[in-house]
Structures are given as C-alpha cells and as structure tokens.
C-alpha cells in the first residue's frame, strides 16, 4: 500500500510504508545509545534498547505490514511494538500506533491524520494515566498534534517536536521512572520525549523526500 495520499497538503509524498518503517528503525538504531544514556541519567538505562528491539522487530516484518491497508498496518505495528518493546514505552508507543490505526482512514489527508493523531494521544494518555506537563513522551506528542492541526509542513512539525523534547529538560518528572527522583529529575531531557521527536523527524523527512 502507499501512504502517499496527502500530496494535496504538501506534507506527505508518494512514500510507501516500508520506507517509513525503515526510516524510523534507522533513526532509533542510530540513536539507541543516546536514548539509553538519557534513560540512565534519570531512568533505568534501557530505553534505547527497548525501542531498538521493537523497531527492528517491525522492520523484520515490514513486507507483511506494508501489504495491509493503512489502518490494519498501523494496528499490527502497534501490536508488534507492544509484544516486543516491554517497559513503559512498549504499551505506550504500541497504543499510539494501535489507536492511530483504529482512528485513521485508508487514505487520510493531513486533517484526517491530525484528528486520528489526537485520538491516539488520548489513548496513550489513558494507558499511561498521564497528561501533558509531566515530562514524558506526551510533551512531544501534544505539540506535534498542534502543528499537524495548524497544517504545518513536515520540517516545521519536526522542529516543533525537537523544541518540545528540549523543553522537557527543565521539567520535574511526575510520571515514569524519573518521577521517583523528584527534583533530581530536573535538568535532564526525557528519553521518551527524545525518541518521539526522533520518530517524528524520520517520518517527516521521509515523506518530504518523497514528495
């Protein structure tokens, strides 16, 4: 199947899901050590590995996923993530993709994507019993959603994601392992925020390149 159905908005090109999968897996693999180091500072040092294990598993079945219609493909990817990542990020990223699959249409435009993405974020927040402002991946997901709604370009969305990840540095963690640290969590970037920003940029860049 092809995810390249958003040409009209200019943010998504003729890019197939296999290419997107390999772009996301590549960025996670390339930054796995950085993610682990971030998680070592205020977590337990496994985030890079967790994400890599999950996205490599997805890459391993990319053919099969790409053969499905987009909603089914995203649901299957989410399930795969849930069953391979483990930790907090497994259920959360898994839920993100599963919910996205549930909410999205077969050929979404950017507005459809924004709507579905908003619902997916709600599912993540429900799974994590969390909300924006607690120094988690939600603090990147939300600004990305806002940018999508505002019809920003891929590059702009990716930049917003990076800024949002950076903005978790001064925050005090109230969710996730870092919350055990109280004030000591201040001054470090949240690992899940960083990985989310990396994924957003990989997706945006890939779509841009194939536009």
């Amino acid at each position: 199947m092809s995810a390249g159905t958003m040409d009209k908005t200019g943010t998504m090109g003729k890019v197939d899901l296999k290419t997107l999968i390999s772009a996301t897996a590549d960025t996670i693999a390339a930054h796995a050590e950085e993610l682990t180091t971030l998680d070592q500072a205020i977590g337990d040092g496994d985030h890079g590995l967790n994400m890599k294990r999950g996205f490599e598993a997805v890459r391993g079945e990319a053919e099969a996923f790409a053969a499905k219609p987009l909603p089914e493909a995203l649901k299957a990817i989410g399930t795969k993530l849930v069953m391979t990542v483990g930790g907090a990020s497994g259920p959360l990223f898994g839920t993100l993709f599963m919910a996205l699959g549930k909410e999205i249409s077969t050929e979404p435009d950017q507005a459809d994507l924004a709507t579905a993405f908003g619902k997916a974020i709600e599912a993540v927040a429900a799974r994590g019993k969390s909300h924006v402002g607690q120094k988690t991946m939600l603090d990147v997901l939300q600004p990305v959603h806002d940018a999508l709604l505002q019809g920003k370009t891929g590059a702009e969305i990716a930049d917003a994601a990076d800024r949002a990840a950076g903005a978790t540095v001064p925050m005090k963690a109230l969710r996730g392992r870092a919350s055990f640290l109280g004030d000591r969590s201040i001054g470090h970037m949240d690992a899940g925020a960083r990985s989310t920003a990396l994924l957003v940029r990989a997706v945006a860049d890939t779509i841009e390149r194939h536009a």
Binding site: G45, V82, T84, G86, G87, P91, A173, L174, S179, L181
Partner: protein, 328 residues
C-alpha cells in the same frame, strides 16, 4: 564491564536455560523463554503469576514452585515483560480457578500486566509498592515495588496452595503489601550488560540513599556512613511511615542487591534488628540474603512486614522453589 557472558544478546536466554536445567525437578520453561512455570500444577488452585524485568534474580523465577508462584515472566534486563508473556503463562498455568498477577509498581510493569489482563479471562491483580524512599508519592507514579514483593508472594502463595479463592487472595496480598515497608541504599552502581558501563558514577566515599532496584538514582547522594547510621536512617523512615502500626511481631528481611556478601548483610541485620526491637517491634521472623537484586550492585535494602497469626503461619508454610525452600 566484567561479567560472565557470551554475548549481551543471549545473556538472558542462556541464563534461563541454565536455570531451568538446574531445577528441572520442579520447573519447566515456556516456549520462546516467555515464562518459567511449575512442573506440576495443582488443579483447582488459583494460579499466581509474577514477572518483571530481569536482573533481580532470584526474583521471580527462583520463587516459582510449591507454595509460591505458578509462573514467572522474565522481561529483558530491567525491562518489564510484554503482555504476550503473561498471556502465555496464564494460559499454561490457569487450571480454572483464576489467575492472580502480582505486579511491582512501575508504570512499565503495570501497563504490560494490565494489557495482558485485559486480553485474558479470570485475572485479578495486586500491585506491590513497599518502597518508602519515594516521597510525595501521591502526585506521581507512587511508590516502587521492591523487596517486599517477595513477602507478598510467599504469603499469598501459601494461601493459594491451601485453596484460598481469587478475591480473598487479592485482599490478602493487599493486606500484606500494606503491612510492608522497604528502603535501600547502594554503594556501587550496577552495570546493565547491554549498556556495558555502570548506570551511574559514584565515588569511593559516597552512597546512593533510597535507591530502587534498577540502578535508578535514589533520594539523595550522601557520604558513606557507618552501618549503624545507615540502618538508623532506613529504620526511622520505615517506622515513621508505619506509624502506630509499628508494634508487635514482624518479619525483618535484609536483602542484598547482588554484590554484597552475606557477612555484611548479617551485620546490617544486627543493626536493624536492634533498632526495631528498641522501638516496639518484635522480630519474630527473619530472612537475610540476596533475593531481590539489582544485577551486581553492592548495597542492600531493609524490609519490615508487620505480622499477625495468619500471616505468620502462611510465612511458615512449606515452600519449595529454587531459592526459597523449607518444610519440604
């Protein structure tokens, strides 16, 4: 990194293979290393399943067997297992009387067990959260489940063995968890095999106070104190948190984190016991050893569980697992 291993990718599976081979009289390994279960199941008994990230051995696999767990699901090192593991374990050991998940309070564990419970039938859950080191827990994730989890598993395991029903087991487990407090201190960092380097740096004269079991930093960094001073502060936190309840019979559990020898653990036991006994607690049961570990970390935790007649008898009931065994 100095560890006995062949490759970081196979540490876990090789270790599990060895573990199950060494205890083949009582244990069986699930497909794809998804779980370790009792060899002989007891029809009609509620199945107890626990699990969590690996690196805490013998928790939980070493606590599978008669009088304790029916299955344990090992995640990657310090990473909660995935829902398919708990689903496969539940399917393997649920003989019809239902299934109780015993989950340590970490969001990863809670969410993965939740997802498994949602996709399985007849499952209830207990979440343990005995770590008093976490302050202001009401606005956050809450307290961590640490060494006290073993106490919950032992007591609930004995009751399950005796035929207690699912709902009562959950209530019992919550009661034991509610009567249990723990706090730990690390002298060195652990080294996660895949990371290859210590999780945190710590100098020779320092300790990490109020640490968890994943190499995550603790309450605060402090200069290394005497055993008595360390025990004094931990016991005070435990007693303070228990408040009025800290009177009468109790189990004192000194738990090593993996790199601390027994000689030091017994010395800490000596300190802690004296402090508790001087404060109205009667130590009637004891456990000293490295049971809820953090890989190779040097350090220990102190756990106190207030006991009553029922829980004392359940603690004493026969158990036959790889790491905890008595009465049979």
């Amino acid at each position: 990194m100095k560890k006995f291993l062949n490759s970081v990718d196979t540490v876990l599976t090789e270790s599990l293979d060895g573990f199950v081979a060494a205890h083949a009289d009582i244990l069986v390994l699930g497909d794809e290393h998804k779980f370790v279960r009792r060899k002989v199941l007891k029809p009609g008994k509620v199945a107890l399943i626990s699990g969590g990230g690996s690196g805490h051995e013998p928790l939980h696999g070493g606590l599978v067997g008669h009088g304790m767990l029916d299955a344990a699901c090992p995640g990657q090192v310090f990473t909660s297992p995935t829902p398919d593991q708990m689903m496969a374990a539940a399917e393997a050991v649920n003989t019809g009387a239902g299934c109780l998940f015993i989950v340590k309070n970490y969001e990863g564990d809670v969410m993965n067990f939740d997802m498994a419970a949602e996709m399985s039938e007849g499952v209830m859950q207990i979440v343990t959260n005995d770590d008093v080191a976490v302050e202001n827990s009401s606005y956050t994730t809450g307290r961590r489940g640490v060494a006290g989890t073993l106490v919950v598993e032992k007591i609930v395991g004995a009751a399950a063995e005796q035929g207690m029903a699912l709902k009562e087991l959950k209530a019992l487990g919550e009661r034991v968890n509610g009567a249990t407090r723990s706090m730990g201190v690390a002298l060195t960092s652990c080294t996660v095999p895949a990371a290859g380097k210590p999780t945190f740096d710590i100098s020779d004269g320092e300790m990490e106070f109020g640490v968890g079991i994943h190499g995550e930093p603790g309450r605060r960094r402090d200069t290394l104190k005497s055993a008595d001073a360390i025990a004094e502060e931990i016991c005070a936190a435990i007693l303070g948190d228990l408040g009025e309840r800290a009177k009468g019979p109790a189990l004192l559990f000194i738990n090593g984190f993996g790199g601390t020898p027994l000689m030091e653990l017994y010395l800490m036991y000596n300190s802690a016991r004296n402090i508790f006994e001087n404060n109205g607690v009667r130590v009637t049961r004891s456990l000293v050893g490295s049971y809820v570990t953090s890989l190779d970390m040097a350090g220990c935790s102190i756990t106190l569980t207030m006991l009553d007649e029922e829980t004392t008898a359940l603690w004493d009931a026969p158990v036959h697992t790889a790491s905890l065994r008595w009465g049979m």
